[in-house]
């Protein structure tokens, strides 16, 4: 009897340890990004790092301004959201409110696959198909533009928005729909004026998580956006994001040097930003669940 109790307690603590590893990982990520990145601020003031518009990390003396990259990430993310949010919400409503039961799961699997296609494959597709197509269509000097990246990121962030929004739509009580229909509202009116407003916090959480997905995406942007830190950025020009800067330059930055530290500092900013997006999204989703 006693041995059994001990085994039980041992398992409890072992599994507790497993559950805590995610937190430990998150803590270690924080510590190591800042340990490698923070020493930069002893040499370069935060203001000129974040607001500087010139990025010449290897010239002497180097200029380390990441504003073009921050703006590039913002531009590409905004473009991606302009695609992913309306389409994601439409897909969520389509799955939740329109599709008959037998087809829901199949459609959800398709959306899951859309999310599962590796980013390097999306990047390759953009490189050989979408980029050249946009180039000839719009008469651009190059097809590797912020627009190309935004279009692909929109497709990649869509499943995130759609699946979180779909959960929120499914959580809307059936009685609301029935009441709306009984009052004479049509199916579309019920969806648009009753279900969607009732699910709005969940939809908002989906948008935040989709935003995190878009801003953190690396390989696709790296392959299709041309990677020039042009200031100010524009949709029809090549663009450089924070993620692609790290991916592109880390291999050639001497360990411990200023360039290396700057890239880690970019990573730390990116990490903090997505962490805040996730925490807010998580809080909103949690709040929705509790209220529901």
């Amino acid at each position: 009897m006693r041995a059994r109790g001990m085994a039980d307690r041992a398992v409890k603590w072992i599994t507790w340890g497993c559950a805590s590893i995610s937190l430990l990982g998150l803590g270690l990520i924080t510590v190591f990004l800042f340990r490698e990145g923070l020493p930069l601020l002893r040499r370069v003031p935060l203001g000129s790092f974040v607001l500087g518009t010139a990025w010449h990390p290897t010239s002497a003396p180097p200029s380390l301004g990441i504003l073009p990259m921050i703006a590039g990430s913002a531009l590409v993310t905004a473009g991606a959201l302009a695609i992913a949010v309306p389409l994601g919400i439409a897909v969520a409503l389509f799955i939740g409110e329109v599709l008959p039961h037998g087809f829901k799961d199949a459609f959800k699997v398709a959306v899951e696959i859309l999310a599962g296609i590796p980013s390097v494959v999306y990047g390759f597709f953009g490189l050989v198909v979408l980029g050249p197509w946009l180039q000839t269509r719009l008469g651009l000097p190059t097809g590797q533009t912020a627009l190309t990246a935004a279009a692909l990121l929109g497709v990649m962030a869509l499943p995130t928005v759609a699946s979180v929004a779909e959960d929120a739509v499914a959580a809307v009580p059936e009685s609301l729909r029935e009441a709306s229909l009984a009052l004479g509202a049509s199916p579309w009116e019920t969806m648009w004026r009753v279900v969607l407003p009732a699910a709005r916090s969940g939809v908002f959480a989906g948008v935040l998580l989709g935003m995190g997905r878009a801003i953190g995406e690396t390989m696709t942007v790296l392959m299709v956006s041309g990677n020039s830190p042009i200031w100010p950025p524009s949709f029809l020009l090549p663009v450089r994001t924070m993620t692609s800067t790290i991916a592109l330059e880390m291999a050639e930055a001497p360990v411990g040097g200023l360039h290396y530290r700057a890239l880690f500092a970019v990573g730390a900013i990116l990490f903090l930003f997505t962490l805040i997006l996730n925490l807010v999204g998580d809080l909103v989703a949690h709040w929705v669940r509790r209220r529901g």
Binding site: A7, V11, T15, W16, C18, A19, I21, S22, L23, G25, L26, L28, I29, F32, L33, E36, P86, L87, A90, V91, F94, V98, D105, V109, A110, V111, I113, L114, G116, I117, P118, V120, V121, Y122, G123, F125, L127, V128, V155, W188, M191, G212, I215, G216, E217, T218, M219, L222, M223, A247, M250, A251, L263, F264, L270, F271, T274, L275, G281, D282
Partner: protein, 290 residues
């Protein structure tokens, strides 16, 4: 405005709204089908047994993807070995042992936050921690450790969902016979939840196989003349190989056929994982008799 006109307008909106929803959903499916169909069409001709089983030749302008396939296999294997026990353990705690409260809430927030960390940040962390601080170096092991952290939330969520679908009556029945919590978990809950746990593992594998950014600085080699002999060797990997071939190799415009082939292999690999997981899930749902 007459009542009839109002009705007409409502009908127009009705058609427009539902039409737009259908259009959006159809458009998304067309994009999905388009990407997959295009790669099958263009990459199909490059696929052959020789392509899968031979080394790259002549500065990667000819030959196959064998070392990249093997490398991805090793990375994924390492990731599974590390992730599955940890993920299942975490899920067992969250579903069977935890009683709620603030700590559990913090753990959950931690898991969700980890899921949202950008893949390139995992790459940076892997470089700073596993490669440099721990001193493992650029290797299969560093890559697998980094990937494990990345896919851990996927594994935990799937396993926990699987555990939670086991009906409470099963547990109660076993408790009534005098079993301890661990005995109930081990001999009742885990076996019943096994298909769901396997699904989670497959999804985690699919995710790990396709990731590039986390292994760029921790495991991946531009070119390796031989297969890795130990977990401490660096390896070629399929997604990184595709990236290198498409953008950095000397004659990247001359090897498009090889690139299409590589992209198709990677895509099919991931599709097989996702579809397998979907089939297991669907069968589970149909078989369920409780």
């Amino acid at each position: 405005m007459g009542e009839e006109e109002g009705m007409k307008r409502r009908k127009v909106w009705e058609g427009l709204g539902l039409g737009l929803l259908g259009l959006a959903a159809g458009g998304v499916m067309i994009v999905l089908g388009g990407v997959i169909g295009f790669l099958i069409l263009k990459g199909g001709s490059a696929l052959s047994w020789e392509f899968l089983t031979s080394f790259p030749r002549r500065g990667m302008s000819e030959g196959g993807i064998f070392p990249a396939l093997v490398g991805t296999g090793y990375l994924v294997l390492g990731t599974v070995i590390l992730t599955v026990p940890l993920g299942v353990g975490a899920a067992v705690y969250l579903s069977e042992y935890a009683r709620g409260g603030r700590w559990i809430r913090i753990v959950r927030v931690g898991i969700n936050s980890l899921a949202g960390v950008p893949s390139i940040v995992f790459g940076l962390f892997g470089l700073a921690f596993f490669v440099k601080a721990v001193g493992i170096g650029v290797s299969v092991l560093s890559g697998a450790l980094t990937l494990s952290l990345l896919v851990l939330p996927v594994m935990i969520r799937a396993a926990e969902e699987a555990l939670r679908t086991v009906p409470e009556e099963f547990r109660e029945g076993a408790y009534a016979l005098g079993a301890s919590r661990w005995q109930v978990t081990r001999s009742i809950v885990l076996p019943v939840a096994l298909p769901g746990i396997i699904t989670g593992a497959i999804l985690a594998v699919g995710r790990a196989a396709g990731e590039t950014a986390p292994i760029m600085f921790t495991a991946a080699a531009y070119y390796a003349p031989r297969l890795p002999r130990s977990p401490l060797d660096e390896v070629m990997a399929l997604p990184y190989h595709l990236y290198v071939m498409a953008t950095e190799s000397t004659f990247f415009w001359k090897t498009r056929d090889l690139q299409y082939g590589t992209a198709l292999v990677l895509l099919l690999l991931v599709l097989v994982f996702y579809l397998t997981a979907a089939v297991i899930r669907a069968r589970m749902r149909r078989r369920k008799r409780w």
